[in-house]
């Protein structure tokens, strides 16, 4: 596959932070080789200080590499031109707090030279997508809750209808509904053919939406890029799921399995996730529209 065909391609990407005298202080990223295909959702995993944010900063040109190379959408990372096709949601919403939701989106829209007419259409649409109501969009950002700030941050990342979206801890600060909506949005973006680079340490989120992941630890690659399904599959355990069995039928199945020589079979009722339970309860109790 040609380098041009990847959404992101790095080779030996290294970042060493230096002190005042130019001596090496921290090797934040060491020899990262990474290729992200167009149209996939890719997860960048690792504990704090593993080099996830450094990688994103390098790809965006916020910092410059000490070694190696990085291409984004076929061009050198940090290129102003390629930023036309990139959307970025930082780990916290670093925005001008004195503007309101609409103003901030219009400001970023003007940086993309989006015509006023187009902005008049796109701004309300984006605010609807991220779930900010009319009242919220007129409030100053300094008055926003953390969740609202994440939503407006996401909206600014999508203002240019980007091909590649870099999301740094996208679900931080969101409630379960917001988290689910964010995950649904990521899946929707993937369905639209966009590439998403997701950087998170909330593993459940990554598991739900990512096609492939990489795991970094102290700047080193400890798990090379691979599909999530391959990595999580437990090959020597089989699972059968069905509905409406009575206790007698369960006992019969157990007896049959023993007859087949399977002595450690465990037949139980599956539990739902807390997230699913929360969403169901909230939906059931919310006033009907």
């Amino acid at each position: 596959m040609n380098v041009q065909d990847y959404a992101v391609h790095t080779q030996g990407l290294t970042k060493v932070y230096k002190d005042f005298w130019g001596r090496d202080k921290v090797r934040a990223l060491d020899n990262l080789d990474l290729s992200i295909n167009r149209g996939e959702v890719f997860g960048l995993l690792g504990p704090n200080g593993s080099g996830k944010s450094t990688t994103i900063k390098l790809l965006l040109g916020l910092i410059f590499p000490s070694g190696g190379s990085a291409e984004v959408l076929g061009q050198a990372a940090g290129s102003t031109v390629i930023n036309e096709r990139i959307g970025f949601l930082p780990e916290e919403s670093y925005l001008y707090k004195f503007l309101n939701g609409e103003e901030i989106l219009r400001f970023y829209g003007r940086l993309f030279r989006i015509p006023r007419k187009e902005l008049n259409r796109r701004v309300p649409e984006l605010l609807d997508i991220v779930g900010l109501d009319d009242k919220a969009r007129k409030r100053k950002l300094r008055e926003y809750s953390k969740g609202m700030a994440r939503r407006i941050g996401l909206a600014q990342a999508l203002i240019n209808n980007p091909d590649l979206i870099l999301l740094d801890e996208p679900t931080t600060g969101l409630d379960p509904i917001g988290t689910r909506e964010m995950k649904d949005l990521i899946i929707s973006l993937k369905q639209q053919g966009k590439t998403v680079l997701l950087c998170s340490h909330l593993l459940a989120d990554v598991q739900d939406v990512c096609d492939r992941i990489i795991i970094l630890f102290r700047g080193q690659t400890v798990q090379k890029p691979a599909p999530v399904s391959d990595l999580l599959q437990v090959r020597d355990i089989a699972q059968i799921q069905t509905r409406g069995l009575n206790p007698q039928q369960i006992e019969d199945i157990k007896a049959h399995l023993v007859h087949m020589g399977v002595n450690d079979a465990n037949v139980t009722h599956p539990t739902t996730t807390l997230e699913d339970l929360f969403l169901r309860v909230v939906r059931e109790n919310s006033p009907k529209q």
Binding site: G61, L62, I63, T80, V81, L95, Y96, L111
Partner: protein
């Protein structure tokens, strides 16, 4: 940075380019480098993105309540105005004008320094920059956007301050004029005050006049009568003639000994009146001194026959001045006061100058020979240049003769006659009309209306410590000063009648002269003081002609425009500093860059070559020669470094916003050329440097 930018914009062409060539070349190199280094960003430069960043900077500044400073500043102006001690009503308004402009300038400079120095470091610190630089906006657009945004804030501050200033000054003017009307109606004013107050009442106090100044001013014993080829100056140490020379030391042979260079002085003179006993005594001393030096023969005495009353020659004091009009230190044996025997001036007086003194004089390149009329009651005539220099040549019979050069300011004149020097320029003695010396203000190529009358403003400092020759005036009696003005057309030779003006020291007086004598633009305005015992201070700015009234509001606008240009320069420098420094250090460096050139200029002689040796000699007189030499070299290197660094910094004294307003004169549009040129040439380099720093800066902390 040395800018020769006092020219109006219309006169920009070749001469200006030649003067500013080094800077232009530097600016072009910077521009070329910018194109090569950031060509792509330059091509992609989008006004829309620049405007977006500018708009955010503007709104952020407004939200930071920077405009709250303006009412505080306004309150300060109103308060300070209450404590002023003006000379008169016009001075009061002009002082208030100065307060307003100064406060607006201070406010806008402080506000822009703080805003521009803190903006970028704050955006990096709170990481808002993450969401900016990851958009398709270049760092050049971000920088330009910030300059535009903060310049808009500065403009808003200045608009608010300007509107306030105009309103406040108008109210002040109205209040003062009402007071003036009341004073006039009550009466009991002296002539000078009444005349001035009536002028204020009729013409208002907020002026923007189109003034025409004199080319130079000279002081004659009397204005030359038609056909008189001589210009006359008074003795009694009252007036002198200055003769300029420009001699290349390599082009002449300098002799040895006490007569290495000779001065040939030809000066006709006339004894005008009998001497007082005191004057006779001073002349006698000069005669005895000249005899003791062998310059005068002893008087003939025949035993048994009474000596006839002795006829004294006229004396002149000979001195040399350097190009800066500072006296070149004399040597002990140099002749100072010399007798001029021939009253017709046909026979030259030869004055020798020693070799070492001649070397010192010639090393200045351009110098002046001054002949001060030393004899009281005598007037001296000046026709052809009264002094020539003689140097030895290969033919002893034909010395090399060096003639004087021409004065630049007096239309080709080879010498200037000036009054004795006082603290406020030349001094013109007050006397009766028939014998009063005349101050001559030369106006050349001044196109002015030649119908009706022309307003003349005269403002002088009057000294009363002069010698009163008559017994009917006591020195401690304050006499009202009366001056008379006349205008002489140089082409026709016609002179107007004298117009009498009462004058008060340090206060402007006004007179109307018939404009018909100004036709052709070449004319002299004559001034004489008719109050004996008083001396009128004269300099070219003492007298001005008012060619018309401009709009004060427009003048105020121009001053604030200059302040705005200054604030844009401040913003550029502040943003440059903030691209690589934390904001407190950036503030300090910004102030240093802005004041650096001005500061070194203030040092004056303290930063000139040779100061190192002088300081070391003063402080380490007893030190070993090696130590002294090392210290001298270090000091010299330091002053040289300071000078050179200052030469690359902007000269903010060129942003003169207050000069014209405080004089009540109309600011010509061309006055904006100097600040504009500094802004373009220096600002371009600053923005380019900022771009290089910012483009290579990692904005993630």
């Amino acid at each position: 940075m040395i800018f020769h930018a006092a020219l109006p914009l219309a006169a920009l062409p070749m001469q200006w380019i030649m003067w500013n060539l080094p800077l232009l070349v530097a600016a072009l190199i910077v521009l070329a480098c910018l194109v090569l280094y950031g060509g792509k960003d330059l091509i992609r430069l989008s006004p829309l993105r620049v405007r977006a960043v500018a708009s955010v900077c503007f709104h952020e500044s407004i939200r930071r309540r920077v405009l709250w400073l303006t009412p505080l500043a306004i309150l300060g102006v109103v308060l300070v105005s209450q404590f002023q001690h003006p000379l008169d009503e016009q001075d009061s308004v002009r002082q208030a004008t100065r307060f307003c402009v100064f406060t607006a300038g201070l406010l806008v400079v402080v506000a822009t320094i703080i805003l521009a120095c803190t903006n970028l470091p704050r955006e990096i610190e709170n990481r808002v920059i993450y969401t900016i630089v990851t958009k398709p906006i270049s760092r050049l657009e971000i920088l330009i956007g910030k300059v535009v945004g903060f310049s808009s804030v500065a403009a808003l501050i200045l608009i608010i301050m300007g509107v306030f200033s105009w309103g406040y000054l108008k109210v002040q003017e109205w209040r003062l004029i009402e007071g003036i009307k009341q004073q006039i109606s009550v009466g009991g004013l002296d002539a000078a005050t009444a005349q001035t107050l009536k002028y204020y009442r009729d013409h208002g106090l907020l002026n923007a006049r189109d003034y025409r100044g004199a080319l130079d001013v000279q002081a004659f014993s009397a204005y030359p009568a038609p056909g008189d080829k001589l210009r006359w100056f008074n003795g009694g140490n009252e007036q002198q003639v200055l003769v300029p020379f420009q001699v290349d030391p390599g082009s002449v042979q300098i002799g040895d000994g006490d007569a290495a260079m000779l001065l040939a002085i030809s000066l006709p003179w006339v004894q005008q009146r009998a001497l007082t006993p005191d004057e006779l005594q001073s002349v006698t001393q000069m005669v005895e001194s000249a005899r003791s030096q062998g310059m005068l023969p002893a008087p003939l005495t025949v035993p048994g026959i009474a000596a006839a009353p002795e006829q004294f020659p006229a004396f002149v004091r000979v001195e040399f001045y350097g190009p800066d009009m500072a006296r070149i230190p004399e040597e002990a044996r140099a002749h100072k006061v010399v007798p001029v025997m021939d009253a017709t001036g046909r026979t030259a007086v030869i004055v020798p100058v020693s070799a070492s003194y001649a070397q010192k004089i010639l090393s200045t390149g351009a110098f002046y020979v001054s002949l001060l009329g030393a004899s009281p009651g005598v007037r001296y005539g000046v026709g052809d240049p009264p002094v020539s220099l003689l140097f030895p040549s290969n033919d002893p019979q034909k010395p090399t003769v060096v003639k004087s050069r021409q004065f630049n300011s007096t239309e080709g004149a080879s010498c200037m006659i000036i009054g004795r020097s006082g603290q406020n320029g030349q001094q013109l003695r007050g006397d009766e009309a028939a014998t009063a010396p005349v101050g001559v203000f030369a106006f050349r190529k001044r196109a002015l209306p030649s119908t009706g009358t022309m307003t003349v403003e005269i403002r002088s400092v009057v000294d009363e410590q002069g010698v009163v020759r008559r017994n009917d005036f006591a020195l401690d009696t304050h006499m009202p000063t009366v001056v008379e003005l006349s205008v002489v057309n140089r082409q026709t030779g016609n002179a107007s009648t004298w117009v009498r003006v009462p004058l008060e020291s340090r206060r402007t007086a006004y007179a109307e002269l018939p404009a018909e004598y100004l036709a052709g633009g070449n004319f002299d305005v004559l001034v004489r003081c008719l109050t004996p015992g008083q001396w009128l201070g004269l300099n070219p700015a003492t007298l001005r002609l008012s060619a018309g009234d401009g709009s004060f509001a427009l003048n105020l606008f121009k001053s604030y425009l200059v302040l705005w240009l200054l604030s844009v320069l401040v913003i550029m420098v502040a943003i440059l500093c903030s691209t690589f420094l934390s904001w407190p250090i950036a503030v300090v460096l910004t102030v240093v860059i802005l004041l650096g050139h001005w500061g070194v200029m203030q040092l004056g002689e303290m930063a000139t070559p040779g100061v190192g040796r002088q300081v070391v000699n003063d402080l380490f007189a007893g030190a070993a020669p090696a130590v002294t030499e090392t210290l001298t070299r270090s000091m010299e290197s330091l002053t040289s470094l300071t000078r050179n660094m200052a030469a690359f910094l902007p000269d903010i004294s060129r942003f003169a916003a207050m000069d014209d307003l405080s004089l009540g004169s109309e600011m010509p549009w061309g006055r904006l050329a100097a600040p504009l040129i500094i802004l373009v040439l220096f600002g371009l380099q600053i923005v380019a440097l900022s771009y290089v720093f910012f483009r290579n800066k990692e904005v993630a902390p």
